[in-house]
């Protein structure tokens, strides 16, 4: 039985197969409409997340399966003090596969170690968010045709932003990637990531001003400064408006540069950018459903001819 805890759980060959499957799903949705008949997905969300949870539910429903679950810890037995280990043992009796989001880092790994069904990490604190990474990789691969040889700028909260950490870990396995980290001093990418990049001899830059690097980028990955990751409200208020992508900044970018964002956004991308053909973040949401469909099929070992 396989779980998904980190994007690195799959080899690049396995990811290629997953993305090929997602591509086939995109082209032939009806072929997969009954692939998961009789199967149940449990969405165990200990912290609120509309997008990821609904994306999982949409994926399972599109495959003909059913969904059950909870969407915040208050409405689950966690409020009564039940451990993750006990909860997953129970959920294993109700469902065939589980997607878990938890504010505590490592919680899905604990669940996977006790579970009788495949567990998908749907985000654990500031640590990993592998299905967002799979979404990002599928979006890049689908829109650019390849996962190699480009410069990607990651902008905003690079310290607590789990989507960023997961994406970097996944991209270092492909050739010819250059990273440009754009963040205020307080939200710089953690040292274990820059240490890893140095060790692997992967080029990266750390800058504060977005404008200075716009012309170099093939992708710009924007992130939100997340209130829930701060222990101090004052720091959050000071940093939340540090970067706002607007039309003026977009004029500095290449014509085929693409803007990605894990969403939800607050104000870091001005709505005036939405109509720019380079704004790819809503297409990214759609790819998220395809890749989760492919993931559910893969982890349940279901093949559709």
């Amino acid at each position: 039985m396989r779980h998904l805890m980190s994007p690195l759980d799959f080899s690049t060959e396995e990811l290629d197969r997953l993305f090929d499957l997602a591509g086939d799903i995109e082209r032939n949705m009806s072929k997969y409409a009954h692939a998961c008949d009789g199967k149940i997905l449990a969405t165990c969300f200990y912290e609120p997340s509309t997008r990821t949870r609904l994306s999982f539910e949409s994926a399972m429903l599109s495959l003909g399966g059913n969904v059950l679950g909870f969407s915040d810890a208050g409405s689950s037995s966690a409020a009564k003090g039940e451990s993750v280990s006990d909860t997953i043992r129970t959920i294993s009796c109700f469902a065939d596969i589980c997607a878990m989001r938890h504010p505590k880092e490592g919680a899905p790994m604990v669940a996977a170690s006790r579970s009788g069904v495949p567990v998908i990490n749907a985000g654990d604190g500031g640590h990993q968010h592998p299905t967002q990474t799979l979404t990002d990789l599928l979006t890049i691969r689908s829109l650019k045709g390849s996962l190699s040889n480009f410069t990607i700028g990651l902008c905003g909260d690079l310290k607590f932003g789990r989507t960023v950490h997961s994406l970097i870990n996944a991209l270092v396995r492909y050739e010819g990637i250059k990273f440009i980290f754009i963040s205020p001093e307080e939200l710089k990418v953690p040292d274990y990531i820059t240490d890893m990049l140095k060790e692997k001899n992967i080029p990266y830059e750390e800058v504060i001003r977005l404008e200075n690097v716009m012309p170099q980028l093939d992708f710009l990955y924007m992130t939100r400064v997340q209130r829930e990751r701060f222990f101090n409200e004052e720091d959050y208020v000071r940093l939340k408006d540090f970067y706002i992508l607007d039309k003026a900044k977009m004029e500095l970018a290449k014509e085929d540069m693409l803007v990605l964002h894990p969403l939800p956004r607050v104000n870091e991308i001005s709505v005036e950018v939405d109509d720019d053909p380079r704004a790819a973040y809503f297409r990214q949401v759609q790819y998220g459903v395809y890749v989760r469909m492919a993931l559910i099929l893969t982890l349940l070992d279901i093949h559709v001819d």
Binding site: S85, K104, E105, G106, M109, D124, G125, H127, F231
Partner: protein, 143 residues
């Protein structure tokens, strides 16, 4: 000059960074053992200026000293038998350590699930870096 007597059997942990001896005492869980322990703080050292020393009178098989490599690789472990130093124990970094050091990341699952073992994995042997198995936070000794 303070004098502490010899021990017959046990360990002398030398070259502990000054002020760190109590932390070493707790990590080795010496508080749970019924044996004689001498804690010497701020002893003069040619090499370090000041250092701490721990003398533990116990059966030499009684202590698991692996943790010392994790918290301070520079500690010298002298093994004492019949009142003499019989060997110096080499500290080897264990690949994985369980329930010896704790994860201090307030966002780690171990902060709320009490029964979970605290497991750290050696991720970089050269730099002696241990990371929590669950949240991957780097272990940093706190005093």
């Amino acid at each position: 000059m303070l004098n502490v007597g010899k021990i017959e059997e046990g360990f002398v942990l030398d070259h502990i960074k000054a002020g760190k001896s109590l932390s070493v005492y707790h990590h080795l869980q010496l508080d749970k053992l019924d044996c004689t322990v001498a804690i010497i703080k701020n002893a003069k050292s040619n090499k370090m200026g000041k250092k701490d020393i721990l003398k533990v009178e116990c059966d030499i098989d009684m202590l698991d000293l692996d943790v010392l490599a994790v918290i301070d690789h520079s500690i010298t472990v002298n093994v004492i038998k019949d009142g003499e130093i019989v060997s110096k124990k080499e500290l080897i970094l264990p690949k994985e350590i369980k329930n010896v050091i704790k994860c201090h990341n307030p966002r780690c699952i171990t902060s709320i699930e009490q029964e979970l073992p605290h497991i750290f994995v050696l991720t970089d042997e050269e730099k002696e870096i241990y990371r929590c198995k669950y949240c991957e936070e780097k272990f940093q000794e706190r005093f």
